[in-house]
């Protein structure tokens, strides 16, 4: 599905073109900010300082980054199998539900050392199971996965509302939230971890899930490019007929890819439910699943690219929030517009600039070849 250019060198394809896309988005954003009478340079400054300029801001940025890494990886692994998993949002939601249900059940009887890994596994399994249903429908019943995963987002959302309002709500409370988990079920915050080492940093929602996210990146890289299962996934994604010829069963491969994809999306629940809120609540996925599509596109479906793209989106989210706070005329909605523009240019229009860059590169390399010829 991703159509990497075959004529351009890698550094242009994965480095320069995404950069051009972001710059184009910022240019249009700048024009809009100019039109409402604010200074775009100043706005960029506020965003950057808000996201990277002080400890708490960095903490928030990395906390958002963690979510984007999970959902970006989830979209990427499905992409490699030629599947468009739009259901990251629902899979993250159900993953969080899994972790929450397990912790609500077990937080009084098990120690941290068991609670936390088991909670993480449950989140992954729930997310994977939620993805497995559309995967089964695609692989064995021919229902298109784009349609079914979108529908499963709505089902997940409805299911959560039902459970939170009718079943899991803490008795005697108005807002639909579960009770807070006991302390052993909390993932350590970054500021807590640093405090154990004797370093004092500001409080922020950043927690140890980030480490797990980075491990997932490495793990997925190994899985996709260094194992026969990843080979099967890529074969099916690139050329299903050749995969069949090679004795690979596309249906099974689709199941496998979506299972891994759902599990990765489910880990958003680990960050949110186990790491930050310490209870089950509504809408903690906040669109991370959808943004994951742009992250994956921008990162060219490669874990390293996804980490970089996630950082960028982390900066946009955190910096955007600061911007809305600092400049009254730039409202929250306008910040969403800016984020939307970045998603538009680096996601939907990811290949818009490719022909121009190819043309320029062609001119450049020709001239270089000519001058080399002359020199010879």
């Amino acid at each position: 599905m991703s159509q990497a250019s075959t004529t351009l060198p890698r550094w242009i394809d994965i480095g320069l073109i995404p950069l051009i896309n972001v710059l184009m988005a910022l240019l249009v954003s700048g024009a809009i900010i100019l039109m409402i009478g604010e200074n775009p340079i100043e706005a960029v400054q506020i965003m950057l300082v808000g996201a990277l300029g002080y400890e708490e801001g960095i903490g928030y940025t990395l906390y958002y980054t963690t979510n984007f890494i999970f959902t970006g990886l989830a979209v990427a692994v499905a992409f490699h199998a030629g599947l468009f998993n739009i259901g990251g949002e629902g899979q993250a939601y159900i993953g969080g539900l899994g972790a929450g249900l397990f912790l609500l059940m077990a937080d009084s009887s098990l120690p941290s050392i068991l609670l936390l890994p088991l909670g993480l596994i449950t989140a992954g399994l729930f997310g994977a199971a939620w993805a497995a249903i559309p995967a089964y429908l695609q692989a064995y019943r021919g229902s298109h996965i784009v349609i079914t995963t979108i529908m499963f987002n709505f089902i997940a959302s409805a299911l959560m509302v039902f459970l939170m309002v009718n079943v899991l709500i803490k008795p005697g409370q108005m807002s639909p939230e579960s009770r807070v988990f006991l302390d052993p079920a909390h993932l350590p915050f970054a500021h807590e971890v640093f405090a154990w080492m004797g370093i004092k940093i500001s409080r922020s929602p950043l927690n140890v899930s980030l480490i797990w996210a980075v491990l997932c990146c490495f793990g997925l890289w190994l899985f996709i490019w260094r194992t026969r299962w990843g080979y099967a996934i890529r074969s099916v994604g690139f050329n299903e007929k050749a995969a069949v010829y090679a004795g690979i069963t596309p249906a099974k491969t689709v199941m496998l890819a979506m299972f891994v994809s759902g599990a990765l999306a489910g880990f958003v629940g680990v960050n949110e439910v186990m790491g930050v809120h310490h209870r089950l609540l509504l809408n903690f996925t906040a669109g991370y699943g959808f943004t994951g599509i742009a992250v994956s596109l921008m990162g060219r479906n490669h874990p390293l690219g996804i980490v970089l793209a996630s950082l960028l989106f982390g900066v946009l989210y955190q910096g955007g929030a600061e911007l809305a706070f600092e400049v009254p005329t730039i409202t929250r909605e306008l910040v969403v517009v800016i984020q939307g523009l970045v998603i538009l240019f680096s996601g939907a229009l990811a290949y818009m600039s490719t022909p121009w860059v190819e043309w320029l590169y062609g001119r450049f390399s020709k001239r270089q070849a000519e001058s080399r010829q002359e020199a010879a």
Partner: protein, 537 residues
């Protein structure tokens, strides 16, 4: 190093053409250059095509023939150089511009709409009126005149999809003539035709030529060049290496010019030492969505140490047969005995299990089946064997082993460039095919299924591949080969089966085969109700 065959000094042919008045050349190209990134597809190409001649352009795949013609037809713009048509310099920026100066093109893959009639297809894009009907009536009159003039008989009201390939091609020619083309370019026109249809096409081309149409024939088949052209130009590696009058040259010289070295024509096959039948098919049937089955009542056997060739015009069930035998496709009736294992519609054998029976498969379509073009060469070199213990260490691939094995395959089959990391898509067709053959033959198969072993492969590589297949047979492998190239089938096969309409309509012993009878069988000219083929040769 001076290569004796790179002879550029030969006199351009147009001067010698006997014509009453000295006409300007139909097409004259001067120092045409075209690069794609670092690849020089055409470099300083000069060519003169005399008005009223039949001019052949010959070269291996990737020599730059198609690029040159695409430039003439307005698909690409030149980087530099001059194009003159009828003595006047022109710039051709689109196919419309090409038509406007009188250049028409018949593509290798027809640009026709199956559900339109011949008439509708011809006027498509050249409608003369807002309402369709007056234009159609006008066109009908003009076309009937053209048909009479050139002896091109096509039923204007027939549906394209129902016409045989040869007639579809005539529609393409009519389409060009209808647009007043005086120069007709044909790109590999005989690839899809039977020998009889080819003869007919050549008759039409000669008739057109008599009426003054200049014809440019692009092909890699030497025999056709010798049969029909007046003059011939040879391309190699993006450059024009020679121009010749056809009567003053021969196939050997042209082959040498194309490849750039001497080519050996024949293969010493030795004698077949047939053993036990390893592959036995009885009463095989594959149903289609329609009433006519894709494959019907197929029975034959292949013994150890023989090559059985399947001849036929493509689309007569050969592809389906290979797919069934290799486990990609199921079947509805009959029985297959594959290296001792019984396969029936209820007990199918998937591609993995087929490989387990020491049966290797070189598929017909290497881009769609044989390799993943976006994999590196080393990744493509394990396709089908990716689960083998050789390539895996625990849960992970043993990359250094995969690379070493790939390099070994590349060395053994002279695959170039020798870079296991190169993208499969960036290898030439011949090298892709050699890598696939290396992958399959290296596993020492007892049965080899091979489809179109040399389609789109350069002459030099063809010879190499043929020798590999014969060697494999001499080592006792049962080889089943499907090919649309009659020459190839006749050259390699110990026995030849002819397929038509999903059935085996004839069987001939290899040495007894001749092109004409085989061609007639392929077209099912005798209209024989396919008798159950005699499987015991």
């Amino acid at each position: 190093m001076v290569n004796p065959v790179t002879d550029r000094s030969t006199v351009l042919p147009q001067a010698e053409k006997a014509s009453p008045a000295v006409l300007p050349a139909a097409i004259q190209l001067t120092r045409i250059c075209k690069s794609f990134g670092p690849v020089r597809a055409n470099h300083n190409v000069n060519i003169t095509i005399a008005a009223g001649s039949i001019h052949g352009i010959i070269g291996e795949n990737g020599a730059g023939k198609s690029t040159l013609m695409s430039i003439l037809y307005g698909f690409y713009e030149t980087d530099s150089g001059l194009i003159e048509v009828d003595g006047k310099p022109v710039t051709i920026t689109s196919p419309q511009a090409a038509i406007a100066v009188g250049i028409g093109m018949v593509h290798q893959h027809f640009m026709l709409i199956d559900t339109f009639t011949v008439l509708e297809n011809i006027i498509l894009g050249a409608e003369t009126s807002t309402l369709l009907n007056p234009g159609l009536a006008e066109a009908r009159i003009k076309l009937q005149k053209l048909e009479d003039e050139y002896g091109l008989n096509v039923d204007l009201d027939a549906m394209i999809g129902e016409l045989p390939v040869g007639e579809q091609q005539r529609v393409e020619i009519l389409k060009a003539l209808y647009r007043n083309a005086r120069i007709l370019i044909l790109d590999e026109p005989t690839g899809v035709l039977t020998p009889q249809e080819t003869t007919q096409l050549f008759r039409i081309l000669r008739a057109l030529n008599r009426e003054g149409v200049t014809i440019v024939l692009i092909t890699h088949k030497l025999k056709e060049i010798m049969a029909i052209t007046d003059t011939v130009s040879v391309m190699r590696a993006g450059e024009m290496v020679a121009h010749r009058k056809t009567e003053a040259t021969d196939a050997e010289e042209l082959a040498e010019l194309m490849v750039g070295r001497k080519v050996f024509g024949t293969i010493d096959r030795g004698t077949a030492a047939c053993g036990e039948p390893l592959l036995k098919v009885t009463g095989l049937r594959v149903d289609s969505d329609g009433a006519v089955p894709l494959l019907d009542d197929i029975s034959f056997q292949v013994r150890a140490g023989e090559i059985v060739g399947i001849a036929g015009v493509s689309g007569n069930g050969q592809s389906e047969l290979l797919e069934v035998l290799s486990g990609i496709r199921g079947f509805d009736a009959g029985e297959i005995m594959l290296n001792g294992r019984q396969v029936s519609p209820d007990h199918l054998c998937d591609p993995k299990a087929v490989r387990g029976l020491k049966t290797a498969h070189v598929p017909e379509d290497r881009h769609r089946l044989g390799m993943v073009t976006r994999f590196s060469a080393q990744e493509s070199s394990i396709l089908g064997y990716q689960d083998s213990a050789v390539y895996n260490r625990g849960p992970f691939f043993d990359l250094s082993r995969i690379k070493a094995e790939c390099r070994r395959l590349m060395d053994g089959f002279d695959v170039r460039p020798r870079h296991p990391e190169i993208l499969s898509a960036n290898m030439s067709g011949g090298n892709q095919q050699k890598l696939i053959l290396a992958r399959e033959i290296d596993k020492d198969p007892e049965i080899l299924l091979v489809g179109q072993p040399t389609r789109g492969v350069d002459i030099g590589a063809i010879e190499f591949i043929h020798r590999q297949l014969v060697e494999l047979r001499n080592r006792g492998t049962a080889v089943l080969m499907v090919s649309v190239e009659l020459d190839e089938v006749m050259k390699l096969s110990d026995r030849i089966l002819v397929m038509f309409g999903g059935r085996i309509v004839a069987e001939v012993a290899g040495p007894d085969a001749d092109e004409k009878t085989l061609g007639l069988m392929m077209a099912n000219a005798h209209g024989c109700t396919p008798a159950p083929a005699d499987t015991h040769a």
